[in-house]
Structures are given as structure tokens and as C-alpha cells.
Symmetry: C2
Subunit: 207 residues, 2 copies
């Protein structure tokens, strides 16, 4: 345990710490805490995680329609005949798709870009699943009437939404965006200026 | 992805999320983020973590002297003839031992209790590695002169230190405790009352 945790050593504990600290948001300190926790449990605990990791990675592919992670192609949502095929919600990441799905308010299909435009990080239009989105719009069997751009309200997300909205204009499809405003359960006092500004700008008439 | 992440389903992604969220400090939301990150990487990424998990759990045992996790018995520190065998630093958890070792200020041996007294959680003296500590004191080949109780400055840690100090009194060994005070690099303004109180109580004369 006196060696540095850099994975170059043969010590299994250091190697586990090194591997765990590759995960996003997990630094060496958290990784060390997790590793000791894992060692303290029954062997089945570590085995359960290891098997789930291998199985998930092995059996997960990208849906050829929406580009989301799936173990069947097309994915469960794209294959679901009860969903509204005329609306497609475009999201940056699978996590975003998951969050929208949990809201229960959307019954259309999704499209996962796997990122947002970030020229400084070398992520241009070709790095996103935009060609796949265009292909869906060109497919005449299931005409798409509306594209909801549900990118994040960040600089990259906004830029991506703007880029896509221009790209899709020639298709004559309706393009919309999620509403920005005060979060539910939030308090005005603790809401940032930009959000209050957006909420003011997008205020809605009470009928 | 519309199923709840409870592991009862056969969906590999949900199972991975379920397994990861068993880790301490990792809720379903973080687990979902980690899982999507893992899926986005090369297969070798998931395999690296899985192998490290299995290897660490398989090859790690408890040192028969200090009760720390180790892959050799006795562990590297207990086997090191250059260390001062007359001083033993008692810690709650392997993580604590690791932190003290990183400070570079201690050249004696350790003893890992694997917990602290917490009667409400069913952790009494028998759940800690106290019998092993007594055995070390009784071993006349390597007489121990000082026991440093480096338990955490929490209610449980303090109670454990007090319990051990009484338990070891008959052995006539010197028993000490880590100094409590203002943390290095800390600011008085942001230091809690208890810590300032301790620092005041334990103030040291400048010579």
C-alpha cells in the first residue's frame, strides 16, 4: 500500500484503485474508498459487478434507428408500435433520453447525438449522429412531422440546437425546443439570473 | 430503459446500474452516468475494471499480524524489518492506515480494527480485531512500547479509543492519541467550533 496507485505496479489493490479512478467523477480518494469497501464484502459482491460490466459491454450495441444503447436492434422504444413515430426528440446523451423517458411526458421516438458540438474539444458535426438523423428524415415510410431539440441549456447544447435547426430547415419539418424556466419546486430566491431572465422572456398567459 | 433499475430485470444495462449503485456513495443517478460512460468506451475499459475487481478480491487476504488487506502474509509493512516494531498505530479502517502511511511521518507498525464501536449498529468489541491486538501485546518476542490510537474524531471513534485504552491499561504500555487542532492550510473562519475548542485546549507553548 505504500506504492503510488498508478497501475504500473503488480499490487492488485493498487490496480483496482487505478481502474476505478478512470471512471468519471471518481478520483483516487473515492476509488480507494470503493476498493476497500469491495474487499470487505463477500466475493459475490465483486463478482456481481464484474459480470454486469462484461455483460453490459458485450451485449450492448447502438440502435440503428435512434443510436441509443440497446441490446436489441431496433431498441425497445423504436420497435414499440404504440409510440408516436411522427415526433423525434433529439438529445445529446443516452442519460438525457433516460431522464426524459422517466418524466413520462413524451410518447414519441428519440435520437441520441452522443455529444454536443465543441470545436475546441475536436467535436464537430461529423462526430455526432447527425447523418443518421438526416437519414431518418429522408425515410418516407415514417414521415417525421416534428423534431424536438432537447440539448442541454449550455453553450455547446445551444450551439448544437442552432446548428441542427439550420441543417433541418430544408426538410420543412417543425422544429421545437424544450421550455426554459423556473424549475418545479425551485425557489425564485435561489434561481440564477439567466433562468429568471428566460422565464420572464418566455412567460405564459394564464387563461 | 423504461424499466426500473432494480436488477430484477434481465436488461444488462439496468443490471449494471443496479450493481454499481450498491457501492457506497453511488446512487442510482451516478450509477446510470457511470454505466453510460462505460458503455461508450472500448470493451477493454470494462474488462480492465472487471479483471481488477476479480483479481483484487481473489488475491487479497487479511494480514495475520495487523489485520490489514494484503496479498502476502504477513503484509509488506509487518514484514519490513526496517520499521520500528515497538510502536503500533491502531486505526479503524484500511483507508486510515493508507492516509497515515502517505503522510510519511510514521515508521512503526499498524493494527486495523475494521470498524469502530457502534452498539446501535450491532458493532461491539467482538466485531473489531481487538483479540488480535491483545495477542500482539502478549507476544514477548517483539515487545510493544507504545500504542497510538488513531481512531476518527467521531463519537464512535472516541468511544473506541477510550474502550481500547482501558482494555490495554493492564499491559502497562504507553497509550497515545493523534493531536486534534486546526487543519494545516485551513482557515480559522471556516473551522468548526469543536475543532477550535480542541485547538485552544491543546494549545502548545512556542519555545
Amino acid at each position: 500500500m505504500i506504492q503510488p496507485h498508478d497501475g504500473s505496479t503488480k499490487d492488485p489493490l493498487s490496480r483496482l484503485v487505478f481502474e476505478l479512478s478512470k471512471l468519471p467523477g471518481i478520483g483516487e480518494k473515492t476509488a480507494t474508498r470503493l476498493a476497500y469497501h469491495i474487499l470487505k464484502q463477500e466475493a459475490s459482491f465483486a463478482e456481481g459487478i464484474a459480470q454486469a460490466l462484461l455483460l453490459a459491454k458485450k451485449s450492448t450495441i447502438l440502435c440503428n434507428i435512434c443510436c441509443n444503447f440497446t441490446e436489441t436492434d431496433p431498441c425497445r422504444i423504436c420497435a414499440d408500435r404504440d409510440r408516436d413515430r411522427s415526433v423525434v426528440c433529439v438529445v445529446e446523451r443516452p442519460n438525457d433520453q433516460h431522464s426524459i423517458e422517466l418524466s413520462g411526458k413524451f410518447k414519441g421516438l428519440y435520437h441520441v447525438l452522443h455529444g454536443a458540438l465543441a470545436p475546441l474539444d475536436g467535436i464537430g458535426p461529423d462526430e455526432l449522429k447527425l447523418r443518421e438523423l438526416m437519414k431518418r428524415l429522408q425515410n418516407e415510410q415514417t414521415p417525421i412531422e416534428e423534431i424536438i431539440l432537447a440539448t442541454n441549456p449550455s453553450v455547446e447544447g445551444e450551439a448544437t440546437a442552432l446548428y441542427i435547426s439550420r441543417l433541418l430547415k430544408p426538410f420543412g419539418v417543425r422544429i421545437s425546443q424544450l421550455a426554459y424556466g423556473i424549475p418545479m419546486g425551485g425557489q425564485l430566491e435561489f434561481t440564477d439570473r439567466q433562468t429568471i431572465g428566460k422565464a420572464m422572456e418566455n412567460r405564459m398567459e394564464i387563461r
